[in-house]
Symmetry: C2
């Protein structure tokens, strides 16, 4: 199968590596708008060939849209338009975005909607660009399939096989539910991490102190603050309502802690920590 990957960054590049070496793709065609990233991706062998967008879509059996969700929402209808012009109608397009409501809504009535499978492979690191791409990134992680009832069964079959090759666990979910749940367990932790970095950089003017004193705990909590704005600005604005709701709950919890510390209410602090400790049973 010829796989076209649009956006050869962390997700697209990592997918290209494993789909090729695990035999799912016999050839990877790439599209990369940034000229430096394009040259790097080709040199690193993430794709066999770089092409303009339209050529790539026309020559691929399966197209992976792996660009930030703002661009993906503009690009997906264009891909489906090209599919519609063709005769046989056996091509497939997937996206890999972290929000699913808007991207499924924008093509809901498209005549080639059935050829699109909306997916969110939940894997990644805080790094981006072709340099961040790596083998085995997806192994063992969850991949969400959204609104699969809107996809053609053969397209869904192929995409399930693709993620099986990437060793991902499939989870099926409605797009709107996806956006609610990812706001809780993914988007909020990026916002809290950005805010933590801003706080430390603001309060601690001497960077040497941060470097010297940052323990493993701080480093892991602030890790996501290295994430790129290209990816996160569209996620946070597209998932605005859900993210705001979670931020408000979070601010209440922070306020509970602040108040308990303020009045030295040790029992209350202990109670809050005990409640938070329940996460142990769920995460690892």
């Amino acid at each position: 199968m010829i796989v076209g990957v649009i956006g050869l960054g962390l997700i697209g590049g990592s997918m290209a590596i494993d789909l090729k070496r695990r035999g799912f793709a016999e050839r990877i065609l790439g599209v990369e708008s940034d000229p430096v990233n394009a040259t790097a991706a080709l040199k690193m062998g993430l794709c066999d060939e770089l092409l303009p967008f339209e050529d790539c879509v026309k020559r691929s059996d399966l197209v992976v849209i792996a660009v930030p969700v703002g661009a993906a929402v503009r690009m997906l209808p264009q891909v489906l338009d090209i599919f519609s012009e063709e005769e046989k109608g056996s091509k497939i397009v997937i996206d890999t975005c972290s929000t699913k409501s808007q991207i499924t809504r924008v093509v809901h009535y498209h005549k080639s909607r059935g050829r699109f499978v909306a997916t969110h492979p939940m894997a990644g690191t805080e790094y981006s660009g072709p340099w961040a791409a790596m083998p085995n990134l997806f192994d063992g992680r969850a991949c969400i399939f959204a609104n699969t009832e809107e996809s053609d069964p053969d397209a869904l079959d192929t995409v399930e096989r693709l993620y099986d090759v990437l060793n991902m666990r499939p989870i099926y979910m409605n797009a709107d539910n996806h956006d609610v749940h990812t706001a809780y367990v993914s988007h909020i932790s990026h916002v809290t991490s950005f805010a933590l970095a801003l706080t430390v950089l603001d309060k601690e003017r001497d960077e040497k102190h941060i470097f010297d004193l940052a323990s493993g705990g701080f480093s892991s909590t602030v890790r996501l603050a290295k994430s790129s704005s290209d990816m996160w600005v569209p996620i946070l604005t597209q998932n605005r309502e859900n993210v705001l709701r979670v931020i408000d709950t979070y601010l209440e919890k922070m306020k509970d802690f602040r108040d308990a510390i303020d009045v030295r209410d040790e029992e209350k602090i202990e109670d809050l920590i005990h409640q938070a400790n329940r996460i142990k049973k769920i995460i690892r």
Copy 2:
């Protein structure tokens, strides 16, 4: 040298392991108030012998206080009292607590103050108890020495050697400054992590969703929320003023994010993320 370790948990236990196998301690005497932990520590070989507090202090050349900071503040004067009753006055006691102002203040005028070296080895995991103890925990991390001018030079020499054996980088700091800086780079990240766990557990009633959807990013951000209340209640109350000040700055930053998302101000969100990204240059 005979080393007495009071509190055979993560820090005390890990220290016992490395001090013994690296030849600094020829014998480890242990004190452990929790009977289950005591049995486990002995079975696991963290110490050669378990003793009551006073016997341990009397028979050790160097005493390590590795209990939560509330208990440590009560225990340290008792250790120095026992030292004072003895003739030769060559014994040494160190603490390993995460706050340094109160513990240095409480013995400031003690006649054996010189035998105490206040230290904070900045290493750890989110786990606790003798089961959490591990070799090499301290390797390559920073150890803060606070108010060293109040310690006898020979005591300081020995303790510097001890941390050298543990492969730690010494950093010298005034106790009050220590508490300001650790509030920024360590204590705040525990509070934000506890609050994140509380938020997710509150909003996401179905634990299966958390388990399924938690990405690596969420797991690392929420990791510290597994930390024990025994350790963190006294840290947060002892370092109250500094922690409150940092929480307030943090709440402002969260508010900035919230407002920018609320009005869909993409430029502002991008600007905040770019500022937060500066942490990349400092942390790894």
